[in-house]
């Protein structure tokens, strides 16, 4: 067993690094015995999180979220569309999650990441959650309506992963929620053909018959804000907010999403068996 605590000289530091790559599980377990992780965090602590609103100037709402090294950029563009016949006073949200090759060495142009469509679907489930009987989602689609039956907003939410270092869903959800918080509806007005066009800047006097349909730029109401935490489980240890290295060696991953009233939105766990009562995670 090569020495774990390399004390400054080059030969023992090289051995630690080699040990980390050759026997990653033993390397991490040795750290777990001391209740600490390779980057110095205690088991239950998440990485530093930063959030920047308005990262993309040309979008109607945007945010850049970073949890440790994992970086996600979310942007929302709004467009006017005619609503469907079944729900004439509801708008629509389209969620797309992209993992370009910049984010990780595993993703190549011809070979999309396996996890991308899964995270995308999970995100759209969490954000939309349309249920016929009771509405339990984050956003009320009726908020997105302009003229009932004729015009409604369509929001295109695009999330780009710029760096994938574990806990992808957490960062993506954080950036999406922040982008929706930052969202301001653009001003629209009715032009001569009776169609709604987006007006940039203040409304000008202009042609006759042109009046602004929504007078002031308003923000979107969020009903309840979801927040999530991903953890890995390994034997008896629960590690919060794993990095990509930890995720790849430890097979069991759990993602818990709670909303502002502490109700469970999602408990997502594909993988190995775990003991019950993991409410310790929350």
């Amino acid at each position: 067993m090569s020495p774990m605590n390399g004390s400054g000289d080059l030969s023992s530091e090289m051995e630690v690094d080699a040990f980390r790559h050759l026997f990653p599980l033993r390397f991490h377990e040795r750290h777990l015995l001391e209740s600490i992780r390779p980057d110095g965090r205690p088991l239950g602590r998440a990485r530093d999180t930063t959030l920047a609103l308005g990262a993309v100037a040309s979008a109607d709402g945007s945010a850049l979220a970073k949890i440790g090294c994992t970086t996600m950029l979310a942007a929302i563009k709004m467009e006017v569309m005619t609503p469907t016949v079944e729900s004439p006073d509801e708008g629509c949200i389209a969620v797309e999650f992209h993992m370009p090759p910049i984010c990780s060495p595993i993703v190549r142009p011809g070979r999309p990441a396996e996890v991308a469509p899964v995270v995308s679907k999970q995100l759209s489930d969490t954000i939309l959650r349309q249920v016929v009987v009771t509405f339990s989602g984050m956003i009320d689609l009726k908020d997105l309506s302009l003229v009932s039956g004729k015009a409604a907003w369509m929001a295109y939410l695009d999330i780009y992963c710029l760096d994938a270092d574990g806990a992808l869903f957490d960062t993506a959800l954080l950036s999406a929620v922040a982008a929706f918080c930052h969202l301001k509806f653009p001003m629209v007005s009715l032009n001569d053909d009776g169609r709604l066009v987006v007006v940039s800047g203040e409304s000008k006097g202009g042609k006759s018959g042109k009046e602004a349909v929504n007078k002031e730029q308003r923000k979107l109401n969020l009903i309840s804000i979801p927040f999530s935490l991903t953890c890995t489980l390994h034997k008896n240890y629960i590690l919060a907010d794993p990095t990509a290295e930890e995720e790849s060696i430890m097979e069991t991953l759990v993602t818990v999403v709670l909303d502002s009233s502490l109700r469970l939105v999602s408990f997502y766990k594909p993988g190995g068996p775990v003991l019950a009562f993991t409410s310790a995670v929350m």
């Binding site: 469970l264 408990f267 019950a276």
Partner: protein, 243 residues
């Protein structure tokens, strides 16, 4: 309050189960599993030589292909594939045949609610049929939260669409727990109390989720009994067995 559901079942009653093995001649293992109207066909091919690019060659690799009944393959199918893959990876003994790939193809024949649990049960039965070494079996159940705040099991499609929240749960199922020989207190809690997979949709309070877990665990014993019975009865002949 008892018979609230559209088809007259009580809260804890499952739909009629049916499991057939050896349905496909050329596949190494195959099974159909139906719960009421929902029917799924699973086929297993493998182990085949070689693993895919990013996979660990020291272990066997599992590949899942999900075919919907109609329409193109999109994100929901990819999500199901990933959930199935990780669930089955945890029940198979991966170190027995390293550097091989086992393919599991799941074909949805009819979808009438609780599709994912049905598919997991079918895949597990197909793996047993193919003779792939497994650590233990897995039983899957869908629990949903009805309006009154109580838990109903195995919803049909209408119930699933109308409900506020539902959870798909998969529990491990060991031989020892079925025969009840000796004590299972290996660790603090016995192994069959664990959950292999849990996917929830919709918002529900935490206590309700824990209640779903308890209820699901209680029913998993019944499901596992059915699964094991249908495995045994089918050994020599090809005649289908109804549960």
């Amino acid at each position: 309050m008892e018979v609230d559901r559209a088809d007259g079942r009580t809260r804890n009653q499952l739909r009629p189960l049916a499991c057939t093995r050896c349905t496909l001649n050329r596949a190494h293992g195959s099974a159909t599993w139906s719960q009421g109207e929902t029917k799924v066909l699973a086929a297993v091919f493998g182990p085949k030589a070689g693993t895919k690019k990013n996979e660990n060659p020291e272990k066997a690799c599992i590949e899942v292909i999900w075919k919907p009944k109609t329409g193109q393959i999109g994100k929901p199918e990819k999500e199901y594939e990933m959930i199935l893959k990780r669930t089955l990876q945890s029940i198979c003994l991966l170190t027995v045949n390293p550097n091989t790939t086992t393919s599991i193809i799941v074909q949805v024949v009819n979808d009438d609610g609780a599709l994912l649990p049905c598919a997991i049960n079918a895949a597990c039965a197909a793996l047993v049929d193919a003779g792939i070494p497994l650590k233990h079996l897995a039983v899957a159940i869908c629990c949903c939260l009805a309006d009154g705040g109580y838990v109903i099991l195995d919803p049909c499609k209408l119930e699933e669409q109308r409900t506020k929240a539902f959870a798909y749960l998969v529990f491990p199922n060991l031989l020892a727990s079925v025969h009840r020989k000796g004590s299972l207190q290996v660790e603090v809690e016995p192994v069959e109390h664990g959950i292999i997979t849990s996917v929830t949709r919709g918002v529900m309070p935490v206590e309700d989720y824990l209640r779903c877990l308890e209820r699901g665990r209680a029913v998993s014993a019944k499901l596992s009994e059915f699964l094991r019975r249908s495995m045994q009865l089918q050994a020599p002949s090809d005649s289908p067995t109804a549960g």
